[in-house]
């Protein structure tokens, strides 16, 4: 080849990069060679292969026998699907749950469209191989599973002295024609994929990961239109299973809408991304991230709870209060950021902090009454005032601070009002939601609340302020030294003792508080790892350009430290998600409690536990496994430790 032609021009660059990152095609080996090299390289390894092969076959056989046994009560799971996921949320209000799911799905699709890069696509060959493997697995499974038991005319299993009667092997194999057909269809699709012609640049030989995911998600949605999943109703204080009606009646349409929503929002995200410039794209991304932060609160307190707003009180008290704080605080902040205020500004901010602290002291001593949100507003004002000197000078900066303050007040007063309004949704149990929904809600709130706390603790632990360091260290070490269950019991059983007599706290709130304080200690250790990876030069450089401690921490140290600690932080997310199963012990009706206590107590499904527990394991596994795979990809992409 001519040397000159091989030199890449600027226009070729993306192609070259793509070629370079694509893995080198493995040299082809015959199956016999592969087996010899990977299964029987030495006598000892041959023994291992045989032993492990037998072990795997027996395990798979046992699992298949259990799952497909005629005596299994899988009806208990599929009839109770709605119970498992949302507990007793009233059926006539169920559209609210679908709205929540829809908002999350649409946001996820939009974020994917805006953030994710188009990959190289998945080679059809790889999909074809996976399909062949699936077909082989189905066929092997059909042969492995023991023959079915015979069912008599009365619908009961036929028994002779303690043992069940089974079909002959040949009957069993021919009875499972549906499974044989499945395997055959899979194999045919796989072989068909290999025949797809390579067009020009080979674009047809791969399929975009997004399209693959869309097809994969379409399959379960389609199944709801075909397969009769179960259904339950809540009548006279008891859950009644209705095997005739299936949950598919009420879910196939919503799930189809969700699928369309996901695909549409993804396409919209991509379209927007291709149309707008770099700067507006990054602004849009920030906006989407902020929406993500607000969404859990809005969905839980507004959509699911449907607060019964008292408009008279809102117009007379809440709105004027928010306006007053917005305007008065804005004037104070405008004054604090004006030129030449100097020392006076700091003293004024400190005085505000003192006033805020005094309000709490007065509340404890009972000197004068005050709305709780007024006290918090004062505290917020003091905190913003303390940071105000960073924004003094240019009018644009001052305007931004003012806008931020107004936004803080609007958001805070809105949520304070919403949270203090009683719900209109009536559920037969004390809690609004249960099942997997409560697992997700507790996990999400725990993470959102413990993240800032964890970062603060990590900063305190690594700071040069010894008293703060000692306090943070002892808190972290004590919390990490004791099991979560003791902390949860502490918050659920003992916390009411520590509260003022007229104050009550719900089980949900105290459990979330316990999880938050527990999780914060672990998060702090992860963030500390990131903080310690920051080189000294970063601190010295920020000192050299004259940044104050707060500016240095916010704009130089933390961004780098958090980036470095993303992989362990995702690990912490997975851990928190798994730990939510402990809610069952302290009496919350979460997904584990559904499977372990609620379903086995239904008259139709008395004592059926194993099936439900297996299903719960599967749900947890799917979520945790997906997250951990994603975090591994993230780790590779960030290249932590390779820089």
């Amino acid at each position: 080849m001519n040397q000159g032609d091989a030199l890449p021009t600027l226009a070729d660059k993306p192609v070259i990069e793509r070629v370079a990152t694509r893995p080198v095609e493995e040299t082809y080996r015959s199956p016999a060679e592969w087996v010899r090299k990977n299964l029987f390289p030495s006598p000892f390894n041959s023994f291992l292969t045989v032993a492990f092969g037998l072990f795997v076959l027996l395990t798979v056989r046992g699992l298949l026998n259990f799952v497909f046994s005629e005596e299994r009560g899988w009806d208990a799971v599929r009839t109770n699907l709605r119970l498992i996921f949302t507990h007793a949320y009233p059926e006539e209000q169920y559209v609210r749950v679908w709205v929540c799911v829809g908002v999350m799905v649409a946001l996820a699709g939009l974020s994917l469209g805006l953030f994710a890069a188009r990959g190289d696509g998945v080679p059809l060959r790889k999909i074809s191989n996976a399909l062949v493997a699936a077909a082989v697995a189905v066929a092997v499974g059909v042969v492995l599973r023991e023959p079915s038991v015979l069912i008599g005319a009365d619908g009961e299993v036929v028994r002779t002295d303690d043992a069940v009667v089974r079909q002959s092997f040949a009957d069993a194999m021919s009875d499972r024609w549906g499974w044989w057909l499945t395997a055959a269809v899979l194999a045919v699709i796989a072989l068909g994929l290999r025949r797809v012609p390579a067009l020009g640049d080979g674009s047809l030989r791969t399929i975009q990961a997004f399209n693959l995911a869309a097809i994969a998600l379409a399959l379960p949605v389609l199944s709801a239109w075909i397969y009769p999943w179960g259904h339950y109703a809540f009548a006279e204080g008891e859950f009644i299973a209705e095997p005739g009606r299936t949950v598919a009646i009420s879910t196939k349409l919503p799930w189809t809408v969700m699928w369309v929503l996901a695909v549409a929002s993804l396409l919209v995200g991509r379209w927007v991304r291709s149309r707008i410039g770099e700067q507006s794209l990054s602004r849009l991304r920030i906006a989407v991230n902020l929406v993500w932060l607000a969404v859990p609160f809005v969905l839980y307190w507004v959509v699911l709870r449907d607060p019964d707003l008292d408009w008279a009180r809102i117009t007379q008290v809440d709105v004027p209060l928010a306006l007053a704080f917005g305007v008065a605080g804005g004037i104070v902040l405008w004054w604090l950021t004006s030129d030449g205020i100097g020392e006076l500004g700091r003293i004024a901010a400190l005085a505000l902090l003192g006033l805020a602290a005094f309000n709490w002291l007065a509340a404890f001593m009972g000197w004068y009454p005050m709305l709780q949100k007024v006290r918090i507003s004062f505290l917020l004002l003091a905190v913003v005032a303390l940071l105000a000197h960073n924004f003094s000078g240019e009018t644009q900066k001052r305007r931004r601070l003012l806008a931020a303050w107004l936004a803080i007040m609007a958001v805070f007063h809105y949520f304070a009002t919403i949270m203090n309004t009683p719900s209109t949704v009536e559920t037969p149990t004390e809690a609004l939601i249960g099942g997997f929904a409560v697992t997700l809600v507790v996990a999400v709130f725990t993470l959102m609340l413990s993240f800032p706390l964890g970062v603060l603790l990590a900063l305190a632990r690594t700071s040069r302020l010894p008293i703060f360091r000692v306090m943070a260290t002892s808190y972290i070490e004590v919390v990490r030294g004791v099991p979560l269950i003791t902390i949860l019991i502490f918050f659920v059983v003992i916390l009411p003792l520590f509260l003022p007599a007229n104050m009550e706290i719900s089980l949900f709130a105290s459990a979330t508080l316990g999880y938050t304080l527990f999780s914060a200690a672990y998060l702090a250790e992860n963030v500390r790892g990131g903080l310690q990876s920051i080189r000294r030069g970063q601190y010295e450089a920020s000192d050299a350009v004259g940044l104050s401690t707060s500016l240095r921490t916010t704009f130089v140290i933390l961004p780098q430290a958090l980036r470095a600690s993303i992989p362990p932080l995702v690990g912490q997310v997975i851990a928190t998600f798994k730990e939510t199963s402990l809610l069952a012990i302290i009496g919350v009706f979460d997904i584990l409690r559904m499977a372990n206590s609620v379903i086995p107590a239904q008259t139709q499904f008395l004592g059926i536990k194993r099936e439900g527990l297996l299903f719960v394991s599967l749900v947890y596994w799917v979520f945790a496994y997906t997250l951990s795979k994603w975090s591994q990809r993230l780790e590779r992409r960030l290249g932590v430790g390779e820089r």
Binding site: P466, I467, I485, V493, L499, S550, A584, I585, N596, A624
Partner: protein
């Protein structure tokens, strides 16, 4: 807010221009903000404590640890004492159950985890695939779900029959749990163990000698083999000769009476002196680390804080021992005496039986249904569920730790070993594993901590560990605060013990740097 420059720099800046007002002085702001923060935290705690006191008085609940001495109205499922006289005894039995569970769990989880971790790196396709599936399945399902699932699966197994399997007489599995052979301390164990200790001391000396010879001459001298030979010889002789050591008990009796002769003030003085010595030692080391050839470096206020903190710690210990809890010293005397008396009891007095006893599981039929007899080691349903749940879950994490540790050894190390002509086994033993072990140890210690804490999930299926017993106790006595404090102290002590042990090995394994 607070600028973090040292006091020295601020002073030198001050000489350049006018001194800033006191509320802008870095050192003042730094300490003032900390003191204010501390006061706020203390005020908050004080407020919560006073609320708790009010609430407790309103509900007529007295605080204090008197309930530990009162009777507990219920039995425990299993443990050293299934029918405890007092709540304190019940909690102690629960602690022993937790500790047993933790130690046995750590042992099995380590073995299984190392096997799976090495298996994941195996060149054998089916071995590595099976190990991956094991790890990815177990660590992505919450432990609590696994424990409850195992519990439910055991409950659905067949009932005990007189010809129980899978291996009759060795391994019995049924809905009551699992029964396996039991190996316990026999009659003359303590007399025999003295022989073994003496053998170990002598064996160590022999090993050192062989090592020196190897270093001097280059001959292959098998030092570990000589160590094992000496220990085994002593153990074999001791197996038959141990009754001759019955007199050792008198030594421990003498120590016990010696401790009993101490008076509380003496113990208080000794503990105080120890605290002072520890503080002085710490401060001296700290100062030594700040000494340079040019003299002591300038101490900033943070360094002074550390020194004062160490001194204050010693003073606090002294105050606690003398004023805070004067009963502590007599408690130390009493338990020290009791400990040595218990040890002394293990010797003499016709202890002539074999040191180690082993029993095979049996099945006995007392009523209508056969059940496991007392000979074997019976893991009842709840215990088996917690044990296997915790072991499998932790093994999955240990496997990942081991895999990471082995992968962390640079490839050049094994290539260099091959270039030197080392055999594969020698390379693993002498080059790869020692380096991998250094990486593995800290996260392994973390997993041991997690395992110990995770045994607390036994509460979900009613195995009487310390948390479950504690729940029974506070349900009956209403002393939630006290029980939770006992839990926390117990688990903190466990964590501390494991950290100390792991740290000991960590320091020993560390690369010696100049």
């Amino acid at each position: 807010m607070s600028d973090e420059r040292g006091a020295g720099e601020t002073a030198s800046l001050g000489t350049l221009g006018a001194r800033p007002p006191f509320y802008r002085d870095a050192t003042v702001v730094k300490w003032l903000s900390q003191v204010v923060g501390l006061v706020l935290v203390l005020l908050g705690l004080f407020f919560l404590a006073s609320q708790a006191q009010n609430n407790l008085e309103e509900r007529d609940i007295a605080t204090g640890y008197d309930f530990l001495g009162t009777a507990l109205g219920s039995d425990l499922g299993s443990g050293i004492d299934t029918n405890p006289d007092t709540s304190g005894r019940a909690l102690w039995a629960g602690m022993v159950n937790t500790i047993r569970l933790a130690i046995a769990g750590i042992a099995l989880a380590t073995i299984l985890g190392v096997l799976v971790g090495v298996g994941r790196l195996s060149r054998n396709w089916i071995v590595s695939r099976t190990s991956s599936v094991f790890v990815e399945t177990l660590r992505n399902i919450p432990l609590l779900v696994q424990i409850i699932l195992i519990f439910v699966v055991i409950a659905s197994l067949p009932r005990v029959t007189t010809d129980q399997g899978p291996i009759h007489g060795w391994l019995h599995v049924s809905n009551t749990g699992v029964s396996i052979p039991r190996v316990t301390i026999g009659d003359g164990f303590y007399q025999w163990i003295i022989f073994v200790i003496a053998g170990a001391a002598l064996g160590r000396w022999a090993m050192r000698r062989q090592e020196r010879r190897h270093d001097l001459t280059g001959q292959q001298t098998y030092p570990w083999l000589s160590f094992a030979g000496v220990v085994l010889a002593f153990a074999a002789v001791g197996w038959f000769a141990h009754p001759a050591l019955g007199w050792v008990g008198a030594i421990f009796d003498a120590i016990a009476s010696g401790i009993d002769a101490l008076t509380p003030p003496i113990v208080q003085v000794v503990i105080s002196l120890l605290a002072i010595a520890a503080a002085v030692q710490w401060i001296r080391r700290f100062l030594a680390s700040h000494r340079t050839p040019a003299g002591l470096t300038k101490l900033i206020d943070d360094d002074w804080f550390r020194i004062i903190f160490a001194g204050a710690g010693a003073v606090l210990v002294i105050l606690f021992v003398t004023l805070g809890w004067p009963g502590l010293s007599s408690w130390v005397i009493n338990s020290g005496r009791d400990l040595f008396e218990v040890i002394a009891d293990k010797f003499g007095d016709g202890r002539t039986g074999s040191p180690i006893a082993a029993y095979r599981p049996d099945i006995e039929q007392l009523g209508n249904f056969p059940n496991y007899g007392p000979a074997g080691l019976n893991l009842i349903q709840a215990l088996a569920a917690v044990y296997f749940g915790v072991v499998l879950y932790t093994a999955a994490f240990i496997a990942e730790v081991v895999r990471g540790g082995i992968l962390a050894v640079p490839k050049g190390q094994s290539e260099a070993a091959q270039a030197l002509g080392l055999r594969r086994t020698t390379m693993l033993r002498r080059v790869i594993l020692p380096q991998a072990f250094r990486v593995i140890l800290p996260p392994l210690g973390n997993q041991y901590l997690n395992l110990t804490k995770n045994t607390s999930l036994a509460i979900a299926i009613g195995y009487s560990d310390v948390v479950q017993v504690g729940q029974t106790v506070y349900n009956q006595t209403g002393k939630t605060l006290e029980v939770v404090s006992i839990w926390m102290l117990f688990y903190l002590a466990c964590s501390l013990t494991i950290s100390v042990v792991v740290n000991f090995f960590n320091v020993r394994m560390r690369i010696v740097e100049r």
